[in-house]
């Protein structure tokens, strides 16, 4: 089973924004951004830049015909700075020129004077100064305060998790051109076409029906284009509208890294209480989320942190508090896992520290507390079809956990320069947008008179293979070959009011809508077939289309797919359907923070092994072995790829992907020479992901969502490395701070218990790296 888009990729035929043949007269945009993290604009001098030959226009907020506002959840994000700037990289002006090169040169010649204001980069400082974007959020169950006295051990601590640059290979970009009647068409690299349409409508002050957004496919999104594609689309549209010319805006990599937000870093406090056997009775966590300059999606991300703060464990008394803290950094945003990973990291830190203090193994505490069937989550949902223990036991057995442990112990007793460590990482991740209203999709399916089929949905293809999965659904419902079926672009005129392709739910929602549309057509085809076979139209249940032929009462007839379509058309029966899907049975009360927010959960268990070079502080991740709850996969090749890719991306977040801002709010890791993502050598030599194989009764053909959940196995890499360091230095008071870079490893291996944490790294006022 293939991923069909890959064939175009391999041949270099796939089109991205920068590959579109732009018409004659297209202009190019480049963005001038604030060089200062916080301040009042005293003077903006664009006169010199404007005179550069080839420059057509320089646009500022004053030129905006509608509202200078693109905020989604909270209206707190201007498209272009007015009088104040709030982060380095905040767009101030758009230069439009005949070539990209000239546009960039003009940007370099814009001068700005800014009266600086105090800069906050640390969420705890923002909290202390009352810089909260929304009211604090608290999720709880049981009675945490009353539970502590029943605990034999209470362990408290603090931990940090860092940001993560999306580094989608296709940078942010849009191509916009005016169409008749004052409208605009935008080809955008976005996960959320409707979000783009709304933002452009607001900025231009024209209704949504005059704005058509088209998405071919993305060269990666990872959440970075869920909300943050809108600004660039709005700038391209604004320029196209004002100049009445086609305008292309594609961010150069350096601009993209500086101007766009990343995964939210968190600083968190935890307190965990256990019986002496290791049963967790109470857990309290406070999350200081670094949101950046505006809300963006951070409030929703914070909610998911609170939903997933107990990971795959049942804890009777939980209290989780989240603060969405405003800082002078680019607005942080969705990134695969959407706050879930940040929440899970903290409970794993708490368990690891508890194990250390109590002299137990972390995996014993983990296993003892795994969620069971019918347990109630702290947000009120009852856990169903739970696969925690089943995946854990399968991982223990299939990967011979005891052999791994004994082999590592033996290695560590025989080697002094190298030490090995391993860690278990169970996961439990809820599927659905936690904002219930977003759980809907619509789809258009057309059957053409030659028997070929096309489908159009809200799903945005970004390498995750969603269109191949939808194709599988079309193929199964109609029982026709894949080669008859084609996916169309994602377009707001065909699929209106769409939710972004996000929350791992792109396949679930859009397969649902396509399934409904195909069934609508199928029921008409059945009637048509009955008529043709001269049978009573009430006998629809006796008709079956199988392998491109009509069967009646189980017997194959001579009526084939193409003929059936042709004659259905002749009977003037519609061969198209536009249908809707809304995820059933989900609800959530945001006042009590209780409900049934998720359609189902995805489970799994991974074992990660790492080797640390204790002389130099470097490490390798030797293996990741997981048993994952895929449901019955719609496409095992795609799902395996998604799982493996997510795991390594998660490991990257936990290990070498380090975002460093200095205290002036300047990003120091703003190039690929300083921001390091996993490369081919970094990939674990052993990557073994097994399919649990349990059906998901509420999933499309028993399948499960795959995009985000496996990323959280990457957290195991942090603890595997930590355990290896502890094998070298059992006395070390390990600072819980991710990513665990070779720097932090070496400092933990050798310094006198005073490893700097993320805060001091920030405060360290690092300089720019030499080249």
């Amino acid at each position: 089973m293939k991923d069909y888009d890959m064939i175009h990729h391999v041949r270099g035929e796939s089109q991205f924004i920068d590959d579109i043949n732009f018409p004659n007269g297209t202009l190019f945009a480049s963005v001038f951004y604030s060089p200062v993290a916080h301040g009042k604009i005293k003077n903006l001098d664009i006169d010199y830049a404007k005179k550069i030959s080839g420059v057509v226009s320089i646009i500022t907020y004053k030129d905006i015909p509608g509202n200078n506002q693109i905020g989604g959840i909270v209206q707190d994000e201007p498209l272009l700075a007015e009088n104040e700037v709030h982060f380095i990289g905040m767009p101030v002006a758009i230069v439009i020129a005949g070539t990209q090169f000239i546009a960039r040169e003009a940007v370099r010649n814009i001068k700005i004077e800014i009266d600086p204001l105090p800069v906050i980069t640390d969420p705890r400082e923002a909290f202390a100064k009352g810089e909260l974007i929304i009211e604090p959020r608290i999720f709880s169950n049981g009675d945490v305060d009353g539970a502590w006295e029943k605990c034999d051990h209470i362990i408290e601590g603090q931990c940090e998790s860092g940001g993560q640059e999306h580094l989608y290979l296709e940078t942010q970009g849009s191509f916009a051109y005016p169409v008749e009647g004052g409208g605009i068409k935008i080809v955008s690299s976005t996960q959320g076409p409707t979000a783009v349409q709304r933002a452009v409508s607001n900025v231009l002050g024209i209704p949504m029906n005059k704005i058509e957004v088209e998405v071919l496919r993305l060269g990666g999104g990872f959440g970075g284009k869920e909300d943050q594609a809108s600004a660039w689309a709005a700038m391209a549209a604004l320029s196209a509208k004002l100049l009445n010319r086609p305008v292309k805006l594609v961010l150069p990599r350096h601009d993209d890294i500086i101007m766009t937000g990343k995964r939210n870093p968190y600083s968190s406090d935890f307190k965990i209480g256990l019986t002496k056997e290791g049963k967790i009775l109470a857990y309290e966590a406070v999350f200081y989320q670094n949101a950046g300059a505006s809300a963006d999606l951070s409030p929703a991300i914070l909610d998911r942190t609170l939903f997933h703060c107990a990971n795959a464990y049942y804890i009777p008394n939980v209290k989780a508090t989240g603060y969405c803290c405003r800082t002078n950094l680019p607005s942080n945003t969705a990134f695969r896992g959407f706050g879930g990973p940040q929440g899970k990291f903290v409970i794993e830190c708490a368990i690891s520290k508890a194990a250390e203090k109590m002299g137990l193994e972390a995996y014993d505490i983990q296993k003892k507390n795994l969620l069971k069937e019918n347990d109630e989550f702290h947000y009120g949902q009852i856990a169903k079809n739970v696969q925690t223990l089943s995946t854990w036991n399968a991982a223990e057995e299939q990967f011979h956990f005891e052999l791994i442990r004994d082999r590592i112990n033996k290695f560590n007793s025989e080697n002094s320069n190298f030490k090995k460590g391993f860690a278990f990482m169970p996961i439990c991740f809820g599927i659905a947008f936690t904002n219930t209203r977003m759980n809907q999709a619509n789809a258009l399916v057309n059957v053409y008179t030659d028997g070929s089929v096309s489908f159009s949905t809200a799903a945005v293809e970004m390498g995750q293979g969603v269109n191949s999965k939808i194709k599988e659904v079309v193929s199964r419902v109609f029982s026709i070959n894949h080669n008859r079926i084609k996916s169309e672009t994602t377009n707001t005129t065909r699929s209106a009011n769409t939710s972004p392709t996000a929350a791992s739910s792109g396949a679930d929602l859009n397969c649902g809508a396509v399934y409904n549309a195909c069934n609508k057509i199928l029921s008409r085809l059945k009637i048509s077939a009955l008529q043709e076979l001269k049978k009573n139209e009430k006998n629809a249940d006796k008709i079956l289309i199988k392998d491109e032929f009509v069967f009646y009462e189980g017997k194959k007839t001579d009526l084939g797919w193409e003929e059936l379509i042709e004659l259905t058309y002749a009977k003037r029966i519609s061969l198209s359907a536009h249908e809707h899907f809304a995820t059933p049975e989900i609800f959530f009360d945001r006042d009590t923070n209780k409900g049934n927010p998720f359609r189902y959960h995805v489970y799994g268990t991974a074992i990660t092994e790492a080797t640390v070079d204790c002389l130099r502080g470097t490490y390798v991740i030797d293996s990741v072995q997981a048993v994952h709850d895929f449901g019955i996969s719609l496409n095992p090749v795609i799902d395996r790829g998604q799982a493996e890719g997510a795991i390594i991306q998660g490991i990257g977040w936990m290990t070498i992907e380090e975002i460093i801002y200095n205290k002036d709010g300047k990003l120091l890791t703003d190039l690929l020479s300083t921001y390091k993502v996993p490369d081919i050598h970094f990939a674990p030599k052993v990557m073994d992901v097994r399919f649990l194989g349990e059906p998901n009764p509420v999933g499309m053909f028993n399948s499960k969502a795959i995009g985000e959940p496996p990323l959280m196995y990457g957290i195991g890499a942090y603890f595997a490395i930590m355990n290896a360091v502890k094998a070298f230095r059992p006395d070390t008071e390990f600072k819980l701070s991710a990513p665990i870079t070779p720097e932090k490893v070496l400092m933990n291996l050798y310094s006198c218990n005073n490893v700097r944490d993320a805060e001091t790294v920030l405060a360290n006022n690092r300089k720019e790296s030499s080249l």
């Binding site: 960039r104 390498g463 991306q649 020479s673 970094f682």
Partner: protein
């Protein structure tokens, strides 16, 4: 591509970034292709691949078309009076300042035949400034005298970068963490500069004046690098630690060359990158070690001396504390690697 083994597969893919981090699927796919060709000893050519429709036909003409292109470039001998950028492999210049290069006068050194070649002359190994990392890794002289060099430079960039990055570019970039620079510093190398007419020699350890500033005059370029071919009982080692092991710039790197007699160091050159504004030759540390016995105490003293010679800054590649600690570790690593029978890891734990 070197087929049939996983190293070949990895090397032919390195330098590519996959942000879906689908590395394991890519490796499996490449291995599958590679396995197809491992029947017998047959070397697979590009035309075989084109015939099997694995690559498009036009790939076969790329080499020739590139050859034709390079003929038209302007060489060093152009009589233009202004002095623009000398371009070696361009892996640094065109990455760091793409826009500026578009408008600047450039002098392409890779057309200059005099700058190629790696030879032995009067007991010296002479390396033309156009020699690439790959040239050096493949050259018989280095293989003979420094068989480990190939492995050290495996940590330099990626295959495509190594195929283009020149010695001239690495040394004249004057980056404090250039890998070749640090290695050749420890061979006490000499650079030969020329303005096209006359030539002069400068010791590499005296070449770097301040951050990104060398002793080279504006109209001069580097012709070659030379170092004395070692004889007798010599040892060498190169260490590099970066955030990501492959395809990354060092946080700290260090190189050593030494000769011994009866467990005494008779001659030593030690260099370190990432710990100062320039690629650093640790002269005081070398002084302390020259004539010293190979003993844990003496290395400890050398390590402390090195700390006084360096002045690392905190940046994205590490804090000052880290770089100080790391250099200490790497100096110990040199001796642990070279003299495992004398030094034990436990000897190096002084900070515990």
């Amino acid at each position: 591509m070197q087929t049939g083994n996983s190293t070949g597969v990895l090397e032919s893919l390195d330098g590519n970034i996959c942000r879906c981090t689908g590395h394991n699927s890519i490796i499996r796919a490449a291995q599958k292709v590679s396995d197809k060709f491992t029947s017998g000893d047959k070397i697979i050519t590009q035309s075989d691949l084109a015939e099997m429709k694995i690559i498009p036909e036009y790939f076969l003409t790329i080499h020739d078309r590139l050859q034709n292109l390079s003929q038209s470039g302007e060489g060093i001998n152009s009589d233009s009076k202004s002095y623009g950028y000398f371009v070696g492999g361009g892996t640094d210049l065109f990455v760091q300042r793409p826009d500026e290069m578009m408008n600047s006068e450039i002098k392409l050194l890779y057309n200059d035949k005099d700058l190629f070649g790696i030879d032995i002359k009067d007991g010296y190994c002479v390396i033309g400034s156009n020699a690439t990392v790959t040239d050096l890794r493949e050259c018989e002289i280095l293989k003979k005298y420094f068989p480990e060099f190939d492995g050290f430079m495996n940590l330099f960039g990626s295959t495509p970068i190594r195929n283009n990055a020149t010695v001239g570019g690495n040394l004249n970039n004057a980056s404090p963490i250039g890998d070749m620079t640090i290695f050749f510093l420890s061979l006490n190398s000499v650079v030969t500069l020329t303005d096209g007419i006359s030539e002069r020699d400068v010791f590499l350890k005296d070449y770097y004046l301040s951050y990104k500033k060398t002793d080279r005059l504006k109209n001069e370029y580097m012709k070659c690098l030379k170092f004395k071919l070692p004889d007798g009982n010599y040892f060498y080692n190169f260490e590099k630690v970066s955030k990501r092991t492959y395809l990354d710039i060092a946080s700290v790197n260090s190189s050593v060359f030494l000769k011994t007699e009866n467990n005494f160091i008779t001659e030593i050159y030690l260099s370190a990158g990432g710990v100062s504004a320039i690629p650093l030759f640790l002269s005081k540390t070398c002084e302390i070690l020259t004539g010293a016995e190979l003993s844990p105490d003496n290395i400890k003293e050398a390590v402390l001396t090195a700390q006084k010679e360096i002045s690392p800054i905190s940046d994205a590649r590490g804090s000052e504390d880290y770089k100080r600690l790391l250099l200490t570790r790497l100096i110990y690593a040199h001796f642990l690697v070279l003299f495992p029978e004398i030094f034990k890891t436990e000897d190096t734990y002084e900070r515990l």
